[in-house]
């Protein structure tokens, strides 16, 4: 069923009793051309583009819980392409362009809101670094603006401009960046993939990968054995554990990142604001709650919850940037488990096993990458060839010495 103004009115007049489920609940077939492990944003978008753009229709997505139960339902919904390195910027800009056409493409309201992302700077050195980043963006054809202090004060009056240690001197603004509704992204891709014939199988956990003569034949699951031609892993957070089933040695650690939502307020924050003095970022959801997060908890973790000390640290950073935050109540906090890669950049590549494909290492930037990740991964699976914008994101880059180290922090995941 396509959504339109007409379908809204017709269903409203019939008491909203005739809406159909957005995707089927099929039983697994004995064999698929492609099985995707992980029904998160990246797994679903991969399935969608495989079926729609590359004509691979006999596809299954296996999700161990319900759709949207992982990181796609546990993030701060920011989309942006303000990266610096040549390996990253074209990729995230490709993603940004897909975001801009996503609602029309999916016929689904993902509530993309291009409200602008502004990254604050607090010193002359940091200003220079942001000028450089802005120039790097322009070189890839992406607009960036440096906003000076006086102009910023008019745009965002409630920041703490005169903090003794981190006075706010200005910011780097990408106007096209913003937020999208994370659940709607998962549901929209699931519905789109389903309409193109993809089987989305929920509550189906992969427990083993069956191989014969070094070739992957299928997966053992809680719903029995399912055969496949190609197996694609998109199990962020648990990639190491799924990879272990095929003896993959991966440059990953799993870390937990916390995020928070406050009580609903009247519209007060117009942009996504990133605090350059720490790692704090905040935006206001369409319901009115302030959504914010900061750094990872620091040590590797598979628990979908964080520790209180980090929560306190996040609040401190937030109040340092916006003093008025101290009077707002936090309603909810949650933690998501992410793959932290050794250089802070993702991995989309084939593995040493011919028909096994890998999409992992999104650190805490996976949400904004959802469309491009799916598109490039589908391209790789369908054509056995890396998409041009994902060429720098291959698995062997560490061995070759071409790490994409956006933060310049070296091979230590908890510093990215």
């Amino acid at each position: 069923m396509r959504y339109s103004a007409f379908s809204l009115v017709r269903n409203a007049l019939s008491g909203n009793l005739n809406w159909k489920p957005q995707w089927r609940q099929p039983q697994p077939k004995p064999h698929y051309d492609v099985i995707i492990v992980g029904g998160g944003g990246h797994g679903l978008s991969t399935a969608y583009y495989l079926a729609k753009e590359f004509g691979v229709k006999n596809v299954a997505v296996l999700e161990k819980s319900y759709l949207g139960s992982g990181n796609v339902g546990r993030n701060t919904t920011i989309v942006r392409s303000n990266y610096m390195l040549p390996g990253n910027e074209p990729f995230y800009e490709f993603s940004m362009k897909l975001w801009e056409g996503l609602e029309q493409d999916l016929n689904y309201n993902v509530m993309l809101s291009q409200r602008g992302v502004i990254m604050l700077y607090h010193s002359d050195g940091q200003r220079d670094a942001y000028v450089r980043r802005g120039n790097a963006m322009w070189m890839e054809g992406v607009a960036a603006e440096l906003i000076e202090r006086e102009q910023l004060k008019k745009m965002i009056p409630f920041l703490n401009y005169d903090h003794a240690r981190y006075p706010i001197l200005g910011g780097l603004l990408q106007r096209r960046a913003g937020t999208a509704r994370h659940d709607a992204v998962a549901w929209g891709y699931a519905r789109g993939a389903d309409q193109h014939g993809v089987d989305i199988i929920e509550h189906c956990e992969v427990t083993g990968i069956r191989r014969e003569n070094g070739v992957v034949m299928g997966v053992e699951t809680t719903k029995g054995f399912i055969g496949c031609g190609k197996l694609a892993l998109a199990a962020a957070g648990n990639t190491s554990r799924v990879g272990e089933m095929a003896d993959l040695k991966l440059p990953l650690e799993s870390h937990v990142l916390q995020a928070f939502v406050t009580e609903g307020l009247k519209p007060c924050i117009d942009h996504v604001i990133v605090y350059g003095g720490g790692h704090f970022y905040i935006s206001q959801s369409d319901k009115g709650g302030l959504v914010f997060g900061a750094e990872i908890d620091g040590y590797s973790s598979y628990a979908q919850r964080g520790n209180l000390a980090t929560a306190e640290h996040v609040m401190e950073e937030g109040v340092t940037m916006i003093p008025g935050l101290s009077r707002v109540r936090v309603l909810r906090a949650w933690g998501g488990v992410m793959d932290m890669s050794m250089d802070g950049s993702p991995i989309i590549d084939r593995t040493s096993i011919d028909n096994l494909y890998l999409n992992c290492g999104w650190c805490y930037g996976g949400f904004k990458a959802t469309p491009a990740s799916g598109y490039c991964f589908a391209h790789l699976i369908a054509k056995n060839d890396t998409h041009p914008v994902a060429r720098a994101l291959r698995l062997d880059r560490f061995a070759r010495g071409y790490a994409v180290d956006e933060a310049g922090a070296g091979p230590q995941p908890n510093l990215h």
């Binding site: 648990n238 190491s240 554990r241 040695k249 991966l250 440059p251 990953l252 650690e253 799993s254 620091g298 040590y299 590797s300 973790s301 598979y302 628990a303 520790n307 209180l308 000390a309 640290h313 050794m342 560490f398 061995a399 091979p411 230590q412 995941p413 908890n414």
Partner: protein, 92 residues
Amino acid sequence: MASLITCPHCGVRPKEEFTIRGDASRGRPEPMDTDEAWHDYVYVRANPRGRTLEHWHHVAGCRRFLVVERDTATHAVYSVVDAAEFVRRAEQ
């Protein structure tokens, strides 16, 4: 909870006093070892769900490197020993 670490020298301390260097179970290769051995040492991680050994550096305390054994799923800490003591025990 891994928010609190009992340092063998300083007692119970918040984890903010520590810098974490990750996996402590891997041995450093010899200088002239193969590229593959060095690649594995620098980049590849076992990343277990469950018990793991990690180096925690007590930067804001005694400045000793510690080996912390904890569970990555429950955050329970089983043991904390000085890294030098850890090596001594391994060699015995």
